[in-house]
């Protein structure tokens, strides 16, 4: 059965791309449950895409979330039937889902490595890359904390970094002006940097 795998492109295209289009329309139209139905579909697709990337594009050096999110959009949604806004909404959902995919993966890895020692604390210079997996869990935790008192900033950061949305797209997704997006990101990132650079003690903020 694997003689077929080879360098074939992703062939397990979802069975009903029309569903995603309709769900996006439902969601735009206020049906919140559409969001919940979209999430697992996109989760599955992003994971599949991520997994197949290696097989087809091992030469690519840095894969960015945007690449997967856009590709997933093309695969899942009937772009012809959707307006720009729906596309942004898709990206926005995909950002959340991408975060979940990566966090699930990081958790899984860190669970496997459990016993190898306690969690590494970040250096103050934000040298994130030293142990990417665990750091991502810290970022996730920090974003969740931020969301507790300022959901919009947390979301803006999520959209930017996990979904690769542009400032304009973030504005559309959150229903705020581009200028506001800029300010939200600036304050949010400053808070995030500070949060991540402090030693691991319960935060007193706010």
């Amino acid at each position: 059965m694997d003689s077929m795998l080879g360098a074939a492109p992703v062939d397990n295209i979802p069975q009903h791309p029309g569903d995603v289009t309709n769900l996006l329309l439902d969601w735009r139209n206020g049906d919140r449950s559409a969001f919940d139905r979209l999430t697992p579909i996109i989760y599955d697709d992003l994971l599949k895409l991520a997994k197949t990337r290696l097989k087809t594009e091992s030469h690519q050096i840095t894969l960015q979330p945007t690449d997967l999110v856009h590709e997933s959009y093309l695969r899942l949604a009937n772009a012809a039937r959707l307006e720009v806004e729906s596309r942004v909404h898709f990206f926005a959902i995909a950002a959340t889902v991408m975060r979940r995919v990566l966090i699930d993966y990081a958790r899984k890895r860190s669970a496997e490595k459990r016993g190898a020692g306690a969690r590494v604390t970040l250096k103050t210079d934000m040298d994130f890359a030293q142990d990417g997996r665990q750091d991502l869990l810290l970022v996730d935790e920090a974003l969740r904390k931020l969301a507790e008192f300022d959901e919009r900033k947390s979301r803006a950061i999520e959209l930017k970094f996990f979904g690769g949305l542009t400032t304009e797209e973030i504005g559309t997704a959150l229903g705020i002006s581009v200028a506001t997006v800029g300010r939200e990101l600036r304050v949010g990132q400053a808070w995030l940097r500070r949060e991540l650079s402090r030693p691991e003690v319960p935060s007193t903020t706010p």
Binding site: N22, R28, P40, P65, A106, M126, G132, A190
Partner: protein, 745 residues
């Protein structure tokens, strides 16, 4: 308090940023007064203002990179019993199949090991998995992938060790070996033999398809993956599922039988059907129908209703192949694929024997009457459509004669015209909309009807009553072409132009004969246009049309203040406008529109299904708008009203539609209750209560659903809501629900 504090920090921080770096410290000290905590908060944020954002990008990218390189499979290299997992062969939703090696002093053996994905081992799944193992253990046949071993992993997941079948799907293998039709039939006979054997052991495979029929390099077919198989008599398998609890329908739509798609009882005849589909593809290189990219409803329609084409009629076949297929093989395949299970071959053996007869050039048993029988069935099913299509031409022809006779009195004539128009519109459009007539037929009937009505209109000198009828006809045609809320052909442009036709004629009617009826027609046409434009994303146009509709609806309501139907029309107009405003981010205006609509409609349910349903929708939409406005408490109150009304409706008039509406409401209210920053315990409990209701409802919907895809997605959504509602108080439980949701999809 906390939020207030954060706002203060932010404000000072933002203002400081606008100043040159050298002036910031002084400004902060001044702005914070003697609040030292505030000073240090702002300073520490400022200290972290500059920094490399690329690092977070890089972090995400490096994680992503690692994920792609890991193949998502952390279990590679793991030991399972005496085997070592080498790589992933196939990953279904819940299970994974690995290539594994046994390499010790005694053996070197390559096997396939199937196990449940780590973290997804729910008791039901474990149960099911053991069933599969048990089933497989009873099957020993040269054409069935053998089970070699089994056990439990260290973390308690059952696994199955199976013969590793290295081969190609039967269709590809036959192509690459360039097998003739006769050779393909011979190869296929061993598939029949495997299926017959499984059936004799009281096992139905339920997912027979080429990728489960592998041909080894030695040319032997192996039927693999009994992953969704089920024992015919559950009691025979210890711990097997009872027939009723086996609600999950997993299958491959391309090869699934009508009864599988409809969720009816699955029998050995189901496998016979799939055998027919596989044989069709094996012999023609095409599938009997293409279902990829179609909605579940469309798939169901094709598989369950549309006549299967003859294999020999597949376009592009070489003449010789066509000749070989025509006749016996056509009949054999179509008999295996009968939509009515009782008309298929009674067993895989019967199918096998007929294939043997074909090979021996003996007369096959496949019913010769099949085609006549099918034709009869077709006519019966499409009687309405066929008759009506006939009627159109008859009426058209008749009208020519009719209008040439000048001796009729004008009013008699008009009456008869109206009668004809009525018959043409109501019968044809309504009946066709419910029937399963092919699209082409529907379209031609509609075009005929419209042309006919236009002609009547001219003949009648634009009689306003006839104009009104014509307007209705246009509007129904529009519905059928592209209604966003009912079954339609999905032709939005066509629908818009039909609705515009409806509007034009309604306005013409109103100019000639002002009054309730013509005003209503005008309002309805505006609303239909607005609704369709709204659904297709043209918000500005939708807004304009709802506004124009509103002007007329207000006027009508003023003229007839006590008429419930006029008020309802006005209210619905407000609802449409509110929807558009909500999506245009004019949230405050949307709230106003919904509230005004509610005032017009009256605030309380009156016990009639239609009215109460509209009312629940209103409160639901209002809740949504309020939530978006940030008025949480009001939003929750509005949702609660909607829920109370819908729950009442469900008790009195249980329907799928109400269940779905209620489900959306539960989801929304949980989102509002659980999705906000600070929760008090009361709200968490309330969120959990609604989340549980939503799970119960989704489970009911899943149990009674015919296509299942939507219902399963709803169920997955409900699980996510359960997770959301638990996230604040019990993250571990929340995670379990999230996983449950992922396992479902």
């Amino acid at each position: 308090m906390k939020i207030e504090h954060w706002r203060q920090i932010q404000d000072i921080f933002k203002r400081a940023l606008e100043l040159p770096t050298s002036e910031r410290a002084e400004y902060v000290n001044r702005a914070c007064g003697d609040d030292e905590a505030l000073v240090s908060e702002v300073h520490s944020l400022l200290a972290n203002d500059t920094g490399n954002t690329a690092t977070l990008h890089a972090l995400v990218a490096s994680n992503l990179q690692e994920l792609t390189q890991s193949s998502g499979c952390s279990e590679i290299g793991m030991r399972v019993g005496p085997y070592r997992l080498v790589r992933e062969l196939d990953g279904g939703g819940m299970g994974t199949v690995y290539l594994a090696v046994r390499s010790d002093d005694h053996y070197f053996q390559i096997v396939a090991i199937k196990t449940i994905r780590s973290g997804m081992a729910s008791p039901a799944l474990v149960q099911r998995f053991r069933t599969e193992r048990q089933i497989l253990a009873t099957l020993t046949h040269p054409n069935i992938g053998a089970i070699l071993d089994g056990g439990d992993t260290e973390d308690g997941r059952p696994y199955i060790v199976m013969e590793y079948v290295e081969g190609q799907p039967i269709t590809q293998a036959s192509d690459s070996r360039d097998l003739s039709i006769r050779e393909r039939v011979e190869l296929f006979r061993s598939v029949c033999s495997a299926v017959r054997y499984a059936h004799q052991k009281l096992v139905i495979h339920r997912d027979i398809k080429p990728s489960n029929l592998l041909v080894t390099p030695d040319g032997i077919v192996k039927l693999i993956d009994f992953g969704i198989s089920k024992p015919l008599v559950p009691e025979l398998i210890p711990g097997g599922p009872s027939p009723t609890e086996d609600g999950q329908r997993l299958m491959t739509p391309d090869y699934a039988s009508p009864e599988q798609l409809l969720g009816h009882e699955v029998t050995t005849a189901t496998d016979i059907y799939s055998l027919g589909v596989v044989l069709f593809e094996l012999l023609t290189g095409s599938r009997p129908y293409v279902v990829r990219n179609l909605s579940p409803a469309a798939v169901e329609k094709i598989v369950c209703e549309r006549e299967t084409r003859k294999p020999s009629s597949v376009p592009g076949l070489p003449n010789r192949t066509k000749k070989t297929l025509a006749g016996d093989l056509d009949r054999i395949i179509l008999m295996a694929m009968e939509k009515d299970a009782s008309r298929r071959y009674a067993s895989a053996d019967d199918l096998d024997q007929d294939l043997l007869r074909f090979l021996d050039s003996k007369p096959v048993r496949a019913r010769r009457s099949t085609s006549i029988y099918r034709l009869r069935k077709f006519v019966a099913r499409h009687r309405t459509a066929t008759l009506m299509a006939g009627a159109t031409s008859a009426v058209l022809a008749g009208s020519m004669v009719f209008f040439s006779a000048e001796s009729h009195l004008a009013d008699v004539r008009l009456k008869r015209i109206q009668t004809l128009a009525d018959a043409a519109i109501s019968d044809m459009t309504q009946k066709l909309q419910q029937s399963s007539a092919p699209v082409e037929l529907q379209t031609s009937v509609f075009e005929g009807t419209l042309a006919y009505l236009n002609q009547l209109r001219q003949e009648s000198g634009n009689d306003p009553r006839l104009l009104l009828k014509l307007s209705k006809a246009y509007s129904r045609v529009g519905d059928l072409e592209g209604s966003p809320v009912a079954a339609s052909l999905g032709n939005t442009q066509g629908a818009i132009s039909s609705y515009q036709g409806a509007l034009r004629t309604a306005i013409a009617a109103r100019n000639r004969l002002p009054g309730e009826e013509s005003m209503k027609a005008v309002i309805e046409a505006y609303q239909q246009l607005g609704q369709l434009e709204f659904f297709s994303g043209s918000l500005r146009e939708a807004h304009d049309h709802y506004q124009q509709g509103l002007t007329v609806a207000r006027e009508l309501s003023r003229q007839m203040p006590d008429d419930p139907s006029c008020n309802r029309l006005l209210a619905i107009n407000y609802a449409g406008l509110g929807n558009v405003q909500l999506n245009s981010l004019e949230t405050d205006k949307a709230v106003e529109s919904f509230r005004t609509g509610l005032r017009v409609l009256g605030p309380d349910p009156n016990g009639t299904e239609d009215y109460d349903r509209t009312l629940a929708t209103f409160y639901g939409r209002l809740g949504l708008a309020l939530n978006e406005l940030g008025s949480n408490a009001d939003a929750i109150a509005s949702y609660q009203r909607a829920i109370a009304i819908d729950e009442g409706l469900l008790r009195k008039f249980p329907s799928r539609r109400t269940r779905r509406s209620l489900f959306a409401l539960y989801s929304n209210i949980v989102g509002t209750l659980a999705g906000r920053e600070v929760l008090n315990a009361g709200k968490v409990r309330e969120a959990q209560m609604y989340a549980r209701k939503s799970v119960t409802l989704a489970e009911q919907l899943a149990a009674g659903d015919t296509t299942n895809v939507q219902a399963r997605a709803d169920l997955a959504g409900a699980y996510i809501r359960m997770g959301d509602s638990l996230l604040a108080t019990n993250p571990a439980d929340a995670q379990r629900w999230y996983r449950k949701s992922i396992a479902l999809t």
